[in-house]
Symmetry: C2
Subunit: 110 residues, 2 copies
DNA sequence: CTCCTATATAACCCATCACTTATATAAGCT
DNA sequence: AGCTTATATAAGTGATGGGTTATATAGGAG
């Protein structure tokens, strides 16, 4: 599944927002998502699997719990793809500053 | 259709890349896409419709032709959503520089 | 007016996705 | 061992998306 396909789902985007704050237990994620989207625990677990399989998150076991952590690499790839369009909404000098700040790390991506 | 759903399709991403170079006729887009993806003219036209309906592109009539132009607003929204994660792959000062360069235009998006 | 080119739309099909309910797995407690 | 909690997986379903072929629309050329 391509990074942008993963980001196409609002539940997954929300999970990534939550994980941006720091590590979370599966149950904590499930509670928030269930409150906001009214879906079952199984559905949330399936979204977590998609995030794992696509490299957006990793999990580690803590007793009977799973702790999820954000993995930024696929997000960075998505960001790199979008970077070529940034010239359209920033002034040229500002765009240049952005590129300098990003260290021109991403070339020939996608 | 959410911006990230639109970006989830490789054909549409490729069309956006082409339009980033400048305006193109529907037929020019169709030729490139057909060569790269082996799909029909109708399929390309449907992708162009998705891009129009979701605000990623506009078209104007030139005789029997349609000229397509990139519209950056939805791409900027997608970029704004990703911006909250940039801290994960840039150093803090670099991330700050990026935010300054972007003029902190996007707050509370999505 | 008719024909051709350029493009979009309609109708249909099939695969995939997001969801559900039901069940499995595994750890901790008593 | 048996129960409970935490989480994942299996199986099935309905909706949607992206493709196809066929057709419509509209402008320019003869």
């Amino acid at each position: 599944m391509h990074a942008f396909d993963v980001l196409g789902d609002p539940v997954r985007r929300r999970i990534l927002e939550l994980l941006a704050e720091g590590e979370l237990r599966s149950g904590e994620i499930t509670d928030v998502i269930r409150a906001e989207f009214s879906i079952t625990q199984a559905a949330v677990s399936q979204h977590l699997k998609v995030l794992r399989d696509s490299g957006f998150a990793t999990s580690r076991v803590d007793g009977p719990r799973r702790i999820y952590r954000l993995e930024p690499a696929p997000l960075e790839q998505a960001d790199a793809w979008l970077s070529r369009f940034r010239i359209f909404w920033t002034h040229k000098l500002e765009a240049l500053a952005t590129e300098v700040a990003r260290g021109k790390k991403s070339r020939g991506e996608d």
